[in-house]
């Protein structure tokens, strides 16, 4: 891939991260890095610490221990607005108070680029409109966000993240609430941004098949510790998944895409065998 000289190969490098809330430790010595234009998936069962890891990388919470470097500079050294221009975060919980329209909500993504007391310029508006178009939201631009469905709101938040024009996107379960068509579309948009702009994406994913199909690398977490990390076919093995999820799985290949495919194979969970 053609990389501009000022971009180091590793956009984000985090090592030895430990963190938690009050007395409860959630992450132990986890390392993760992501290269220019890469998509790294964080997978693991509920409570494994996926969202906490993402919050650390976003600097929403501070680690107890460990270091995070973004574009060669410690993340703690970033000014708030500089960080917001570099990293966009799409959380799981997407609320909005008051009757903001979809366009107004997406324009909020331009905030870290605006000078104090200034208004959105024609370019800011063009960036927001392009983000709306990319996520198929143009027909909804004038609607109130509060009146949209869960999936539509999710797309609004993704559009806001695109409008931020970040170098890194941190996505917490980006496919939750979305139907198959929109999931495929979102990964297609991410793919396009990764190749054209070198956007680095780190996403937590419940869906192991999505991780296998779309991620360059996968980090598998269990109880706050990294179990395996690497290419999808190295990490998403039957042995690893059985150990982490504590259930029988079948790991094969998706006949259409050739990607690793994971299916539940616990017989007790379904119909009795004849």
């Amino acid at each position: 891939m053609n990389q501009p000289a000022e971009n180091p190969a590793l956009t984000l490098r985090a090592s030895g991260l430990s963190a938690g809330y009050a007395d409860r430790q959630v992450l132990r010595q986890v390392s993760i890095d992501a290269g220019f234009g890469e998509l790294v998936a964080i997978v693991g069962p509920n409570g494994a610490g996926k969202s906490t890891l993402l919050k650390l990388l976003a600097r929403t919470i501070a680690p107890w221990d460990g270091s995070i470097e973004l574009l060669g500079k410690p993340i703690a050294d970033y000014d708030r607005r500089e960080l917001a221009r570099t990293i966009a975060v799409v959380g799981q919980e997407n609320v909005i108070a008051f009757q903001f329209t979809v366009l107004e909500a997406v324009l909020m993504g331009r905030a870290p680029h605006l000078a104090p007391f200034s208004f959105e310029s024609p370019r800011d508006l063009a960036v927001a409109r392009a983000a709306l178009e990319q996520l198929g939201l143009t027909p909804l631009a004038g609607r109130y966000v509060q009146e949209l469905s869960g999936g539509e709101r999710k797309r609004v938040v993704l559009a806001r993240a695109l409008a931020q024009e970040p170098k890194v996107a941190l996505l917490d379960e980006p496919t939750a609430f979305l139907d198959l068509k929109h999931i495929a579309e979102i990964f297609a948009i991410l793919k396009q941004l990764r190749t054209t702009r070198g956007l680095t994406v780190i996403a937590t994913l419940h869906d192991l098949n999505a991780a296998a199909l779309y991620a360059d690398r996968v980090l598998l977490l269990k109880d706050g510790e990294a179990v395996a990390s690497g290419a999808p076919e190295q990490v998403l093995t039957a042995a690893n998944l059985r150990a982490v999820y504590d259930t029988e799985v079948y790991v094969g290949r998706n006949p259409a895409t050739g990607a690793v495919m994971v299916l539940p194979a616990s017989v007790e969970s379904s119909r009795p065998r004849e």
Binding site: K55, A58, T60, R80, R81, L83, A84, R85, I87, A88, V89, G91, E93, N94, V95, I96, A97, F98, Q99, F100, T101, L103, E104, A105, L107, M108, G109, A111, P112, L114, P116, F117, F119, E120, P122, L125, A126, R129, A130, L132, E133, Q134, T138, P139, L140, A141, G142, R143, Y144, Q146, Q164, A188, I189, Q192, T196
Partner: protein, 353 residues
């Protein structure tokens, strides 16, 4: 997939609110219109009252009674109503941004009640100690700030601000401060009781120019400080985490809103007593007409609040002329049903889904 550039000149074919996003031109147009409305309301309110006066004579005949009534009674009263209305409405809008809910307001949350108690205490203790009048707004501000922070912290459950918990805490604070004022009321002599009543009911009766000046300066500074955070208030409606991830220093923003709304409410209460619901009605009307963008909402509430309060006071002093009603009673009479309507609506809408 190719990036399709969205044409800027094409009007989106969507259904929905017919509202353009905020531009500088739109902001100035709206504020200009509101300023003209405010000026018209000022002129009308100066012309009418329990006694008829001739506005032309008031300016031309410096020795006449029209001049005396206009400059000693009518104009100060109208200006005081404007200053207090502006401060209460703008602070209401900022408090609503803070709690992400249109039901918050100084009166409802018990912040004005705290301010009134502080003012009454300052008046009584100050009178005993022979202290200066200046401690009244200071104590009103201190007690308002205390109430704001306490209400906010108490309404926070597991890091979340539930609208109904917030309202309950406000109810409790209102009765607490009401009781505290009643206790003071029972311990003082008849003359002080009258001024305590004045604070409880809210009125613009006979303000001095000095009071107007103090309230105007504090209101203007408070408004300017809040307006500087208007864009951050927009981002705060996305929640603390999302706002912070978009570059907002959420703790600093919260502290600024605590501080400046308390100063504005304290200043308003110390000169006019408790006037509830203005901070609820005015921002809601403006949001309905112009949208929730705080860069427009805050200044529009400031001007609209002034006009609304002057109109309410005009009603208060003419409706049963020559006697007059406390203006706080008028705003509460309009505001009560309005509050119930908002409560029903917010209970239905999925504000936090």
């Amino acid at each position: 997939m190719a990036t399709r550039a969205a044409p800027l000149d094409r009007r989106a074919p969507e259904a929905g609110p017919d509202r353009a996003h905020l531009t500088r031109a739109r902001l100035f147009a709206v504020l200009g219109a509101l300023a003209i409305i405010l000026l018209a309301v000022v002129i009308i309110a100066c012309a009418f009252g329990s006694v008829h006066i001739d506005l032309i004579l008031a300016f031309t005949d410096r020795a006449g009674p029209d001049h005396a009534i206009f400059f000693a009674a009518r104009l100060p009263r109208v200006l005081m109503a404007a200053v207090v209305g502006a401060a209460l409405a703008a602070s209401g809008a900022a408090l609503q941004a803070l709690v992400r809910n249109p039901l918050a307001e100084g009166g409802i949350l018990g912040i004005s009640g705290g301010g009134a108690f502080g003012a009454i205490l300052a008046l009584i203790v100050g009178a005993r100690l022979g202290g200066s009048e200046a401690i009244v707004p200071l104590c009103a501000f201190g007690a308002s700030l205390l109430s704001t922070v306490a209400v906010y912290r108490l309404a926070m459950v597991d890091g979340r601000l539930e609208p109904f918990t917030l309202l309950l805490v406000g109810v409790i604070f209102n009765s607490f401060w009401g009781a505290a004022i009643m206790i003071v009321n029972a311990m003082v002599n008849f003359y002080v009781v009258h001024s305590i009543l004045f604070w409880l009911m809210g009125s613009f009766e006979a303000p001095t120019w000095r009071e107007i000046a103090i309230a105007a300066v504090l209101g203007a500074i408070g408004f300017g400080a809040l307006f500087a955070h208007a864009r951050d208030m927009n981002l705060l409606s996305l929640g603390d985490d999302a706002a912070s991830e978009l570059g907002v220093d959420v703790d600093r923003l919260r502290r600024a809103i605590f501080l400046w709304t308390s100063i504005m409410i304290g200043a308003a209460v110390s000169v006019s007593g408790i006037i509830s619901f203005v901070g609820l009605i005015v921002p809601h009307m403006i949001r309905l007409a112009l949208g929730p963008d705080h860069r427009l909402l805050l200044p529009a509430a400031f001007l609209g609040g002034a006009a609304f309060m002057i109109a309410a006071d005009l009603l208060a002093r003419t409706i049963i002329a020559p006697a007059e009603l406390p203006v706080g009673a008028i705003t509460a009479l309009c505001g009560g049903p309005f509050f119930v309507y908002l409560l029903r609506r917010e209970g239905r809408s999925s504000l936090w889904s």
